[in-house]
């Protein structure tokens, strides 16, 4: 879906150098292509904002243990479907929140909550909380923001984004889940890049019957319906694989079809770049094929590669979401956004406890950012075009 159209022509590449101006009057004079791209990108406000957002999100995912106030699988059965609590600030209490009390509706047995204004839950930064290990190695117990406990007892609970059906903190789950969901995208992309670059490069560079054959194969494989293929592969994964194995299996599954669009673009670019004067002269001067590829052709590819993969990552994230949502991907106790979405399947639950949609919002924002970023990069990647 994020493919460039079939007969997308590579943008007009004029030789670099010269003292020209581009369509917006910027001095394209003596800047390198990379710098030009960056400059154009900088003008794309939304794209910039998306970039910062994504870096922030990935950072939080990286240091998830620190940012998440609770263990993602911690159940608090006294606070099932607890609503989000708004932190307040006052001069007397500092950061705090009102306590909440759970009730059961005597007629419908529905759980609901009311504020208990007498109970003050003290909050603060770097609050002491549950024991955790950063990346499984460094033990620590202070978290970014949370309920302050006394030295002898645990703090009353504070759920910024509410809890789910087992009383698990949604904020913590979203943060830990981001680790899985986001990293799966990255790792799949790595596999995709490797496959796409190699195969596309070989195809474009060697041309002839190799190129033809590979092209036909790519056409055939791309005819496979993506989601059903993923479903099928998800369904055949043995039940007793450990969480980690499943994780890696999924990354491979997701990249199985994605490399094709990258390979196509790479091939197209290499085909055209190969004929460029500088490449031909390098060949005539006796440069080895490797040198030509890495030193001369690859840089011309980079911008395209970046664009393609930036637009492909959301597809991977959505793919993992879909698989886990259907129960064919990751399984509890692993937490990912897709796994969290399983709880949203129940419409009545959605209606009564809308805060469980938090992972959906996270997904939308992440994917949106990637799309904006990719779009901005695509616009910027062609510094010599007129718009």
């Amino acid at each position: 879906m994020k493919d460039a159209p079939h007969n997308h022509r590579p943008p007009d590449v004029r030789p670099e150098g010269g003292t020209g101006h581009d369509g917006d009057g910027l001095d394209t004079g003596s800047l390198s292509q990379a710098q030009l791209i960056r400059q154009r990108f900088a003008r794309h406000r939304v794209g910039q904002a998306s970039l910062y957002l994504l870096v922030l999100v990935y950072f939080v995912a990286l240091v998830a243990d620190f940012f998440a106030p609770y263990d993602p699988n911690r159940r608090d059965l006294d606070f099932i479907y607890a609503p989000p609590q708004l932190p307040k600030f006052s001069l007397t209490h500092g950061f705090h929140a009102w306590g909440i009390k759970n009730h059961i509706d005597p007629i419908t047995l529905e759980k609901y909550y009311t504020f208990e204004r007498e109970t003050i839950v003290p909050l603060g930064f770097l609050a002491r909380g549950h024991e955790s290990k950063l990346w499984g190695l460094i033990p620590f117990d202070r978290h970014f923001f949370g309920a302050r406990g006394q030295s002898d007892r645990e703090a009353p609970p504070f759920f910024l984004l509410g809890t789910d059906r087992y009383g698990r903190d949604i904020l913590s789950r979203v943060i830990y889940g981001s680790r899985i969901s986001l990293s799966i995208g990255l790792i799949s992309i790595l596999v995709t890049i490797v496959l796409g670059l190699t195969i596309g490069g070989v195809s474009g560079y060697l041309s002839g019957w190799v190129d033809n054959f590979i092209q036909r194969m790519m056409e055939i494989i791309s005819a496979f319906p993506q989601l059903p293929l993923w479903l099928a592969l998800g369904a055949i994964m043995p039940r007793d694989w450990s969480g980690l194995t499943v994780y890696f299996a999924i990354t491979i599954v997701l990249s199985l079809l994605g490399w094709i669009s990258l390979a196509r673009v790479v091939r197209g670019r290499i085909l055209s770049l190969r004929e460029e004067d500088y490449a031909v002269s390098a060949l005539l001067m006796g440069a080895s094929h490797t040198r030509i590829i890495f030193r001369h052709l690859l840089p011309g590819l980079t911008s395209h590669i970046i664009v393609v993969i930036t637009l492909a990552i959301p597809g991977m994230i959505l793919g993992e979401t879909s698989l886990s949502f259907l129960g064919l991907g990751l399984r509890p106790p692993m937490v990912s956004w897709g796994v969290m979405l399983q709880d949203c399947m129940n419409i009545q639950v959605l209606a009564s406890y809308p805060w469980i949609l938090a992972p959906a919002i996270a997904i939308i924002i992440t994917v949106l950012s990637f799309n904006f970023l990719g779009d901005a990069l695509r616009d910027a990647a062609d510094p010599y075009s007129s718009h």
């Binding site: 007629i107 984004l161 005819a223 496979f224 319906p225 209606a351 924002i365 904006f372």
Partner: protein, 1108 residues
């Protein structure tokens, strides 16, 4: 560049703060309303609901619907049969049916519903989850062919097919009076000879000849180690004779796991292997494709055969391969109400197959008149909240099953030679301390709180406090939460070694991993708690969620470690004691012991691997003996005391691990659906809803569509029998091939021909593309075949294993036949070739047709009845194609103008908004969007938007404007959901291309020369910009087809996607494989079509011979 870095840092901070603010806004929006107060209700209301919820069986409400009347005084009595439903009245007027008095006979059952006299008319629509058990479920729903039946709260047992009975003093002889003038659904008289026929020619014949002619009726006639005898005293009197006292005979007759003992002799006789018309049997066998006579006979009896006469209130008149199924009123039903109206009141019952989630959603929205079977107590609040909005009541029924969630260890776990792990597992499973420890490790209170809404007390499985069989000792055995004691017990049986992760290992150090099997009809919620609890005491376990078909197969082949099920026995365990003592193959914890017990007195040879007795001295052996004694005790009370000891043994040994007492059974009954008792006992042993007198249910004010009346009338009048081929061996030519099959056939042939023609006609590009189709198909099918065959132990293999070991001797032949038919012994490549249908090109024989010829193979979802995939798929392919096509058109129609607008008004406010919206559209996962839309539909428009039709219109055959309108209200959701992502992308493409064009010199020239803008726009730039636009559409189709799969699953659409998913989960390999190939083909077809379109539009491609 320090300032540069500072600026970047500042930007990060700004972003972070932005995210924070957004989060706080979200929290404020969806968080708790600060003014939320504790809810208060008038105390009487609260009290009444709580009473209704907690007191399910009182002394004051014992509804009994059966009325004892004096049949000698029928003429002139109030209950004399005189009135009938309009549909039947019409048929009588036309001379097609005899008058009502003749039809019901002179001694009809006289019933009075819970609320009195009802009204005629209406269609009761129902849904069930399992495809597999649907026919058994239907027979349970209506199973009116028992001699006696239960009342709503259990006792008293009332007459049903039999008018009255007398037992001899020693309970050895039971004599039943049947009803004079009672008829089968085809008008033929019903007499004692029909019952005798069952006994003599089905049961005894089967015993003597080693064939299976009936199902499970041996439980009625078997008594102790002998079988009873049936004697015909006269046309309406039948006698059962037993060698030992049989005090519980009535209970057995009334309970449901027994199939009927009343069979239409006049119909079935002709198919009887010995008595029947041999020529007819031969011909039918050939035409229908059966290989042995008993198989044919059983199919003739099967509920899916509309030609077989029945005694039930609603009957199946129309054979259909796929749901929804329809059952119309039986014109010869032998019951009336107290005013002489012939029953049932309701004209028609329809049955649809749905996922459990959708059944819950439809129930909550009042989509079913009466829904109870698939409702989870965890959805209780939802139903309670919807009562006034959707117009229904929530009844609380007493659950006869005393547990909805029990972990059954498999004492007879299969041990494969050479598989040390299986041996060690079997050993542990048979060590009582192991099971007891596992039970003690579970924190039941937490599970009750989290999963059962706090209703219920921790308990082991026992018949319930209200039951005369209650055992306090069993109820509280090993129910405490005592993980320390559990750990000590586990240590004491030798599981002291731990592995690297802290879990206990087997004695010899091997990794120990237990699987707990959960079928897709069971709530997997508590399992996670159990697994965590077991982890704390060092036991590693994983859940294994499987489709019901697979679960059954693995159960029969004893491959499971633990299996989560419910209570088998219920309120009166003497009838069905399998939760406590193994007396049949269905015993959840010891199927082999049970199978041995079941067959020890028959002459069926059972394989030692699959049926063996408990070892000497084993408590279950003692339990079996006690059971024998209890069933043959001189009085019921004496029997009950014997049974107590069985409960004590169960308390000692713990055959199952249960969490809690069950919550009330919820029944959601719509306000317009009347005569449903408010208090009832719900259980399959009691045959709910038969024990509720479902034939007295009626609709307050049913608005039927005019076509409905005629449709039902026609159905009653004419029987539509099954077509000629069911069964494994297809002999008749086009029988399997629905229009879809033909379509596929022509598709391939057409492409081949077209390719040749076009190549010759100098369009090498297109010709090449078409020819590429073939290798594409090959590669795709190979990959699919490999994927689908990959999981070990697929359905066919397991089915074979099951057959191989099951008791019926006729199976050896069936196994042979299956092996041969599916070519299981052939190498992989040959199997693939056969599936594809390559052999057809050589032999041109029907049997060798495969995928290429349009034959999609067989579905083994119900392993006992393979269904041709073509029939199951049926309309789905067309529907998938239509929805995809519709979405493409929708996308195009939307994206084109919006893209043009965006390009022309670049950077305007409209452009930015549209860009933002389209990006958001691209970013939301399709199924989520679907959910949100359904939610809005439900909340703001008060409409339930799942599926393609509302439940009422689903049943309606003809296309009224109402039905069309209903379709339109439902179909926009899939179109929008599927279309949005594509539309967004297309808008961007269109915009980009058009912008490219608009900046070209010729456009400036044209404007300068004064060409009008719109004309200019449309004539040149758009036409050129459309070029890549069209080609992108080509890639849209496969995306739609595949992405549509998930959305369809969520929305419950009858397309290919959900079928593929369920086939994958059920490991139904042919169905899954065929669906994958079909989806790929649809995708390719779309791409091909777009390429052709592109060629037509862009002369450059035509000229250059497609060098693009």
């Amino acid at each position: 560049m320090k300032t540069g870095k500072l600026i970047i840092l500042a930007k990060f901070a700004a972003t972070a703060i932005g995210v924070l603010i957004a989060t706080l806004v979200w929290v404020r929006m969806v968080g708790l309303d600060p003014n939320q107060e504790t809810r208060t209700y008038p105390p009487e209301e609260v009290e009444s609901v709580q009473r209704s919820r907690s007191i399910l069986m009182g002394d004051d409400d014992q509804p009994v619907f059966y009325r004892n009347v004096d049949y000698s005084k029928i003429s002139g009595s109030r209950w004399e049969p005189k009135r009938e439903p309009p549909i039947l009245a019409e048929l009588v007027r036309e001379g097609k049916l005899p008058p009502v008095r003749v039809r019901t006979g002179d001694e009809p059952a006289v019933l009075e519903g819970a609320e009195g006299i009802g009204r005629y008319g209406g269609t009761w629509n129902m849904a069930t989850k399992t495809r597999m058990f649907i026919w058994e479920e239907m027979s349970r729903l209506f199973g009116a062919e028992t001699l006696v039946r239960w009342s709503p709260l259990g006792y008293p047992i009332v007459p049903h097919v039999a008018r009255s009975w007398v037992a001899s003093g020693d309970s050895k002889t039971w004599t039943f009076q049947l009803r004079k003038g009672m008829r089968w659904s085809d008008g033929h008289p019903f007499t004692a000879h029909d019952i005798y026929y069952w006994w003599k020619h089905e049961f005894v014949y089967g015993l003597e000849n080693g064939v299976r002619m009936e199902e499970n009726t041996d439980k009625i006639i078997r008594h102790g180690d002998r079988f009873g005898r049936v004697r015909v005293i006269d046309k309406s009197t039948v006698e059962f004779q037993f060698d030992t006292p049989n005090p519980f005979f009535l209970e057995k007759l009334a309970s449901t796991y027994m199939q009927s003992i009343c069979f239409p002799r006049h119909y079935l006789e002709q198919y009887h292997p010995e008595l029947g018309d041999q020529e007819l049997i031969e011909t039918t066998m050939k035409r229908r494709g059966f290989v042995n006579r008993s198989q044919l006979y059983m199919e003739m009896k099967n509920e899916n055969n509309p030609l077989c006469p029945r005694l039930t209130p609603w009957i199946n008149r129309t054979y259909k391969p796929n749901p929804p199924y329809s059952f119309v009123r039986n014109p010869y039903y032998w019951a009336v109400d107290i005013k002489g109206n012939q029953l049932p009141y309701i004209d028609q019952v329809t049955m649809e197959i749905q996922t459990k989630e959708l059944i819950a959603i439809d129930t909550a929205a009042g989509g079913y008149p009466a829904s109870f079977k698939w409702l989870d107590f965890s959805d209780y609040s939802i139903y309670m909240k919807g009562r006034s909005t959707y117009g229904y009541e929530v009844q609380h029924w007493y659950p006869a099953f005393r547990s909805i969630w029990t972990i059954w260890p498999n004492l007879n776990r299969r041990v494969d030679p050479g598989d040390e792990i299986s041996r060690m597992k079997a050993e542990l499973l048979n060590t009582k301390e192991f099971i007891q420890a596992l039970s003690l490790a579970i924190n039941r209170t937490a599970i009750i709180k989290a999963e059962f809404n706090g209703i219920g007390e921790p308990a082991q499985l026992s018949p319930g406090r209200e039951s005369p069989y209650f055992s306090e000792r069993l109820h509280t055995s090993f129910v405490d939460y005592d993980p320390d004691r559990a750990e000590r017990m586990l240590d004491s049986i030798g599981l002291t070694n731990r592995d690297g992760a802290g879990y206990r290992t087997f004695g010899n150090g091997d990794r120990m991993l237990w699987f707990v099997t959960v079928s897709d009809g069971t709530n997997p919620g508590p399992l996670q708690f159990v697994i965590d609890d077991w982890k704390r005491v060092g036991i590693r376990a994983l859940p294994k969620l499987q489709s019901s078909g697979l679960v059954l197969l693995e159960f029969i082949t004893r491959k499971q470690d633990f299996y989560v099920g419910g209570d088998m026995s219920g309120f009166i365990p003497v009838i069905e004691p399998k939760s406590y003592v193994p007396v049949g193959g269905g015993t959840p914890f010891a199927t082999a012991y049970g199978t041995w017990y079941e067959f020890k007195i028959s002459e069926f040879a059972t394989s030692d691997r699959v049926a063996y007795p408990p070892p000497p001295g084993h408590p279950l052996g003692r339990a079996q003996d006690l059971y024998d004694a209890a069933m043959q005790a001189p009085t019921k009370e004496a029997g009950r005391q014997q049974f107590q000891e069985i409960m004590d043994i169960a308390a000692e040994n713990l055959w199952g691990i249960t969490i809690a007492t069950p919550p009330p059974q919820i029944a959601v009954i719509r306000n317009d659906f009347r005569n449903v008792p408010k208090k009832a006992i719900y259980g399959s042993v009691f045959r709910t809803p038969v024990n509720l007198a479902s034939e007295t249910f009626f609709f307050e004010d049913y608005q039927a569509s005019p076509g409905n009346f005629d449709a039902i009338r026609d159905e009653i009048e004419t029987v539509t029998p099954p077509p000629d081929s069911i069964g494994l061996v297809e002999s008749s030519p086009d029988a399997r091939f629905t229009p879809i099959g033909r379509l596929l056939k022509f598709l391939f042939a057409g492409i081949a021909v077209a390719a040749v023609v076009l190549i010759g006609a100098k369009h090498p590009y297109v010709g090449r593309r078409l020819l590429l189709f073939i290798p594409m198909l090959l590669v795709i099918s190979v990959i699919t075949f490999v994927i689908v065959q990959a999981p070990p132990g697929n359905v066919i293999e397991t089915r074979l294993m099951n057959l191989d070991e099951s008791t019926s001797p006729g199976n050896a032949k069936e196994i042979e036949q299956i092996r041969e038919y599916f070519h299981l012994d052939d190498p992989f490549v040959i199997q693939y070739a056969r599936w594809m249908g390559f052999y057809w090109f050589f032999t041109f024989s029907e049997a060798d047709k495969g995928l290429i010829q349009g034959d999609l193979g067989f579905s083994l979802d119900d392993p006992r009845r393979p269904q041709p995939v073509n029939r199951i798929v049926g309309d789905r392919i067309v529907l998938t194609f239509l929805i995809s096509l519709g979405t493409v058109l929708f996308t195009w129609a939307l994206a084109l103008p919006i893209g043009i607008y965006s390009a022309v008004r670049q950077y305007s406010f409209g452009d930015y908004t549209l860009t933002l919206l389209s990006f958001i559209g691209m970013s939301i996962p399709g199924f989520l969007l679907a959910l949100i839309l359904i939610y809005w539909g439900g909340v703001f428009f008060d409409v339930n938007l799942t599926g393609l039709f509302s439940p009422e219109y689903e049943a309606q055959p003809e296309w009224t404007w109402g039905k069309v309108g209903d379709l339109l209200t439902h179909i926009w959701i899939p179109l929008v959901v599927l279309g949005i992502g594509g539309t967004a992308g297309m808008i961007r493409v269109m915009r980009g291309n058009l912008l490219d064009e608009l900046s070209k010199p010729y456009v400036t020239t044209a404007r300068a020369k004064g060409v009008r803008p719109v004309k200019l726009l449309l004539k040149y730039p758009v036409r050129i910009a459309i070029n890549p636009f069209v080609s992108t559409i080509g890639s849209l189709f496969p995306g739609l087809v595949s992405g549509g799969a998930i959305v369809a699953v969520v929305l419950g659409l009858p397309t290919v996607g959900p079928l593929l998913l369920s086939a994958l989960l059920a490991e139904d390999i042919y169905l899954a494989g065929s669906m994958l190939v079909v989806l790929s083909l649809l995708g390719i077809a779309g791409t091909l079509f777009s390429d052709l379109l592109l060629m037509a539009l862009d002369p450059r491609i035509r000229m250059e011979g497609g060098k693009r």
